[in-house]
Amino acid sequence: MLQHWITDRPASRREWLFHSGIGFGGLALAALLKQQDLRAEPSPGTAARRRTPHFTPRAKRVIFLFMHGGPSQVDTFDYKPELQRRHGQPYTYARPRIVSAKTGNLMASPFRFHRCGESGIPVSEIFPETGKCIDDICLINSMWGSNSRHGSALLELHTGSDTFIRPSMGSWITYGLGTENEDLPGFITICPTLGHGGANAWSSAFLPARYTGTPIGYSSVKAEEARIGSIQPRLSLPQQRRELDLLREINMMHLNQRGPDDRLESRIEAFELAFRMQSIAPEVQDYTRETAAVHRLYGIDQEPTRNFGIQCLMARRFAEAGVRFVQVTHSYKWDAHGELEKNHRQNALEVDRPIAGLIKDLKQRGMLDDTLVLWGGEFGRTPTTQGDDGRDHNNVGYTMFLAGGGVRGGLRYGATDEFGYFAVEDKVHLHDLHATMLYLLGLDHERLTYRHAGRDFRLTDVKGRVVHGVVA
C-alpha cells in the first residue's frame, strides 16, 4: 500500500522518455507497470481518477467554509460564563509569549447565548440558524495553531506549514483520492482571498500541477460574477468545435509522424477535456437552476446573505457533481481589532443562514453523511480587549467546527480555560485537525506521502494525531 503513494510522483520525465523511445511496445509495458502501481502521472483523459483509500472512508468530500480574518470563539461557539462575570476585570494570568498588540482587561461577549438543540449546547445569538443545526455539528473548542499572524496562520491552516510553501490540504486530498468527475477540477476554491499568501493557500506546491486548486473568482468579485479563469469561450460553441476539429486533424498528422508519444496524445485529449469542462463547469456552477425554495434556504433571496449564500449553494452543486474539495471563503472581514460587536453581528448575519442552509440541504439530500463540512478562521480572538471594544488575534485557543462526514454531532470537543484564552483540555492542533480530516476520508496521514527533494512529505509533517473523540 505504501508503495502506491510514493510512486505516484513526477518520475514522469523518465516515463515519457521511455514512451517516446520505445513506442507501442513501451505503452504495453507501461500498462503492465501500471498494474504493479509503478506508474507515471496519469494522462488527462484517464485523469486523476478515483483511487482506493487506505481504509473505509466516512466522508467522500470536503466543503470548507473559511472565515478569513479570525472569528472570535467567545462570541460565537465557546460560551464562557466566567468571562461574562469578570467583564472589565484585569486578566492576571500569563499571556501568549508573542502578541501583536497590548490587550487590556477581560471583555465579556456583548452577545447572549442560547442553549440549542437536544444537545443543549450554548450558541451565540448571532448564529441563530446555525444554532438550530447544532445537533449535526461537532464543535472543536480547543483548536490551536503555531502562528498568530494572518499570513502564516492562514498558510498553516491550509497547508500545515506556517513557514514553508507546502501543498494545500485540498491538493493532498485530491492527490490521495483522485476525482469522481473527470470533467471537473478535483479541487475548487470559490472567491478565495489573494492576500495573506494568496495562491499559496490553494497551490499544489511540489505535488503535480493537476492537484492545484482551481479558483472561481476572487474575494473582491461578487459570487454571481465569479468564473473559472479562461472558461468562457470567445467564440460560439459550433465555431469553436470546428476549430478544435481542425486542430485535432493537424495534431494527429504531427503525432503520426513523430509519435507515439504519451504527452502529444495527452495534449490532444486535453483539448477535448477542456471543451467538455467549459460547458459542464458553468452548468454545475449555475445556482440559478435551483428552485426558489432552495434559494430561500441559503438566503440568496435577500441581503446580506445573498453573496455567501450563492457561494455555499455553488459549493453544494460542485460537491454533488463529484468535486473532492470545495472551499468557500468569506472574505477578510472578521479581523475585529475594534468595534467587535458591530463587526461580528454583521459578519454572522451574512453567513449564518447560508451555513445552516448548506447543512440542512446536504442533510435532506442524504449527502451530509459522506460530506465533511469544516468551518472556521485562521485563528480566534483574545478574550481581553484591544482598544476600547476590539479583540486581538488568538492562535492559542479557538473554535472550529466539523459537521457530517462521520463526525459526532451535538458535541463540544475539548475546552479552553475559564476565559476562553488558551486551549487546555483535549487540545487539537491544526496538524491534528488535518490528520483527523484525512482519517475521515479514509486516508492515513502517515502514509499519504509524496517524495520531493529527497524525502517523503506529508500534510502533517512529522506530527498530527487522529482525534478519535470527534468520530461518530
Binding site: S12, T214, S230, A274
Partner: protein, 297 residues
C-alpha cells in the same frame, strides 16, 4: 571539505568556502542544473539532491569534466552554455534509431535529443514573437510598486502582466503569479526548483482556447496574412512558415482549405457571420495551439 575558521560574521568565509575551486559540490551542482535546463534531464536526475538522497549520475566523468571546465574558465556561464550547445549531443535529432530504442529505451545515454515542451515563459514569448508583438528591449523593471507595497494588496495584479515585454522582465507577485505562466508549470516562486514539471492538463487548453493573449495574437496573425495576397494557399504557406518555421505539408494545406470551405458553409447554415478574417484567425490559433508549436524536436 572542512568548514572554515570564523573571523568575522562568517559570511565571507562561507562564500569563499562554497566557491572554493576544490569544493566538490558547488560546480557539479551548477553545471548539472545548466545541463538540466538545456537537455530536460540532469546528468544527476535529482537536480536538488546530490549524494545519498539523490540518484547517481548517468555520466559521472562528463559531470566531473564539465565542473572542472567551469571552474577553470573562471565560472563563465556563457562558456558553459556554448560548450553544451555546440556539442554533438545537443544537436542530435529526437528521432530514435531502431537499435537505440531497443538498447536505451529511457535515453539515458543521450543517443537522441528528448522532445521537450517549451517552458511557460517561452510559450508566452513565442506567441508574442510570431504575432509580431514581442517587445525585445533590454533591461529595466516592470514592477510598478515600491518596496514592501507589493507584499500586500496584490488582489488586482493580474493586469500588471498585460504588456508585450519578454517574460523574463515580468514582475513576480508571489501571491498572484501570472495565471498564464502558472498554467504551464511556472514553479512556485518561493520554492527552489531545479527540475520543473512538465504537466499536460486541461486548464492549459482552456488558456490556449480562450485567453486574451492567444486571441489577440491570432487576430494579429490573421491581419498579417490577410493583405499581401488573397490566394488561400499562399496565406497558409505564409502562416506555416511564420509560426512553425516550415512550409505546410500537402495534407495540412488541404485540411485548412477544407476547413475554410466547410466552416464558411456551416457558419452560413447556422446563421452566423462567416467573417473570413476571423476564419484566418482561427487557423492561426490552431497553429498556436498545435503540438508542434509547443514541443521542440
Amino acid at each position: 571539505m572542512p568548514p572554515p575558521e570564523l573571523l568575522g560574521s562568517g559570511r565571507l568565509e562561507l562564500a569563499r568556502w562554497i566557491t572554493h575551486p576544490s569544493h566538490p559540490l558547488t560546480p557539479r551542482v551548477f553545471v548539472n542544473r545548466l545541463w538540466r535546463w538545456r537537455f530536460g534531464r540532469g546528468i544527476v536526475p535529482t537536480t536538488d539532491n546530490f549524494g545519498r538522497l539523490g540518484e547517481r549520475p548517468t555520466h559521472p566523468e562528463l559531470l566531473d569534466w564539465l565542473a572542472v571546465e567551469f571552474v577553470e574558465s573562471g565560472w563563465s556561464m556563457k562558456r558553459l552554455h556554448r560548450l553544451m550547445l555546440l556539442s554533438a549531443t545537443y544537436q542530435m535529432s529526437s528521432t530514435a534509431a531502431a537499435d537505440a530504442a531497443q538498447r536505451d529505451p529511457q535515453n539515458e545515454l543521450w543517443s537522441r535529443f528528448p522532445r521537450r515542451r517549451l517552458e511557460a515563459e517561452a510559450i508566452r514569448d513565442a506567441i508574442l514573437a510570431v504575432s509580431g508583438q514581442l517587445d525585445t528591449r533590454f533591461g529595466g523593471s516592470l514592477m510598478p510598486l515600491k518596496d514592501r507595497t507589493y507584499v500586500t494588496g496584490t488582489a488586482s495584479k493580474q493586469q500588471q502582466y498585460d504588456n508585450p515585454r519578454r517574460s523574463v522582465y515580468q514582475p513576480i507577485y508571489r501571491s498572484a503569479v501570472y495565471d498564464f505562466l502558472a498554467a504551464f508549470d511556472f514553479p512556485d516562486p518561493a520554492t527552489p526548483t531545479g527540475d520543473r514539471q512538465e504537466s499536460v492538463i486541461a486548464p492549459q487548453s482552456l488558456v490556449m482556447m480562450n485567453s486574451e493573449l492567444v486571441h489577440q495574437a491570432s487576430a494579429k496573425l490573421a491581419e498579417w496574412v490577410w493583405s499581401p495576397s488573397d490566394d488561400p494557399q499562399t496565406r497558409v504557406e505564409r502562416l506555416w512558415q511564420r509560426v512553425l518555421g516550415r512550409p505546410p505539408h500537402q495534407a495540412e494545406l488541404e485540411a485548412v482549405l477544407r476547413y475554410m470551405t466547410t466552416s464558411a458553409a456551416d457558419a452560413a447554415g447556422q446563421g452566423e457571420d462567416g467573417n473570413e478574417l476571423e476564419q484566418w484567425a482561427a487557423v492561426a490559433r490552431v497553429l498556436l495551439c498545435s503540438n508542434e508549436f509547443l514541443y521542440i524536436d
